[in-house]
């Protein structure tokens, strides 16, 4: 009994995951270049992948605001089309330089965070630290479960945020849905889809606002990727937790005599 107590104390030090009513947060191994890449696609996404929500949400909101005010996406749009003069004209230099340092911080910060969290994740694995796989609150129930990675991919494809709802990541769900609705509305993408479906391609191109529309690929791409990774990692956490429970409590201390009884009948 005493050993169990000291073990659980030890396990408090390097936890693998934490289950709250609205969310399961956990340490998982990730290639730091992958998180850095998502931060480059959209500042804040790299932090959200690693479970650093407050930083991630702040950076995303920052990106929405500064990018919009500086007309950065519009400038990117014209630059890639080779219309450099319009790109220069459209940038609002009253905002533009605000962008640089925080953008680079987002990439660097998520890279560094991933390296650190990878180490903590390995430590937690080695310590075989304990988690309590369910949390019941007055308004919600959150538990580890095995879920199908493909389902979260498809749900996120249909509507960013749904895949996270499926894995019970409520903060990300709310955040992505708010982002998605904003972008869809201001980019006029739904109208463009209607025009495209009826063959009115030039009308679709005319009505779309590049400033907002260019956010859509990274928003949807990120939602799919993050929901997928979460599903897989939650499944692994479920297995880890259950394996630990079984090897702690069901080990047949008398296995040798039991086997001897069984085999001894031969003699």
């Amino acid at each position: 009994m005493e050993q169990l107590k000291s073990e659980s104390l030890r396990n408090l030090r390097r936890p693998k995951g934490y289950i709250s009513v609205a969310n399961v947060n956990l340490l998982h191994l990730k290639n730091p270049w992958v998180t850095a890449w998502w931060s480059a696609a959209f500042p804040g996404y790299g932090h959200i992948i690693m479970g650093s929500y407050v930083k991630g949400f702040l950076l995303v909101i920052w990106e929405f605001a500064i990018n919009y005010e500086a007309h950065l996406n519009t400038a990117i749009y014209y630059s890639l089309l080779g219309r450099f003069q319009i790109a220069k004209d459209v940038i609002d230099i009253n905002w533009f330089l605000l962008y640089v340092s925080v953008y680079i911080y987002a990439i660097w910060g998520s890279f560094r965070l991933t390296v650190d969290l990878n180490k903590l994740s390995i430590l937690a694995d080695r310590e075989d630290s304990m988690i309590i796989p369910i949390k019941i609150g007055s308004m919600e129930i959150c538990f580890l479960d095995k879920r199908v990675p493909w389902v979260s991919v498809m749900l996120s494809l249909f509507s960013p945020g749904l895949g996270h709802l499926y894995t019970h990541r409520i903060p990300t769900t709310l955040f992505l849905m708010a982002n998605y609705i904003t972008v869809v509305y201001y980019s006029h993408v739904l109208r463009a889809i209607h025009y495209t479906a009826t063959g009115a391609f030039s009308q679709a191109a005319m009505i779309l606002d590049p400033q907002w529309f260019l956010i859509l690929p990274s928003l949807i791409g990120f939602s799919i990727y993050d929901a997928y990774v979460n599903t897989v990692e939650y499944n692994r956490l479920f297995e880890m937790e259950q394996a630990r429970f079984l090897s702690d409590h069901y080990q047949m201390p008398n296995i040798n005599s039991v086997l001897a009884d069984c085999l001894g009948g031969a003699k």
Partner: protein, 166 residues
Amino acid sequence: MIIAATFEYSFNLELAISDLEKRGIPRENIGAITLDKQVADRKVFDSIHRSDGISLFDGAAALGTVGALLGAIYGFVLEWGPIIWMLIGFVFGAGLGFILDYSIGKIRSLRNKKVSRKRDQVGDSAADVVLLINCETEKNELVEKILWDNFAIGVGVMSENRLVNK
């Protein structure tokens, strides 16, 4: 006698164990061996049964996003408009990312060939846990029924009586 069953990690496994305990099989007579599994070639996508987290999804998601972005931009000046070109860009980019990831993985696994003995396929229903139950012969049927009812992959029996009878 010993009854052995294989299970996946699941709620059903815990339901089976708790049911057995409730029906009078003491905890000391239940043993669970959690299996380390041999990893075969890494699969394209993780499934609910098997996920190593290093599937070929990183590259596909990253390049798919780039492709969708470029498609969305150049779609403004191309024939079919931004929506269709965004989709084309996404499929093309994701495909490219997938192929890149896949070939890098192949090169790596060729390099490590000596170390890792490859198996053709690890089935999706490969067992995670072997459950051993030591019980009296009278309880045999009850135990087996509980195991099957909770979706054991396989159940087998080792009994002293069989040997004695020979």
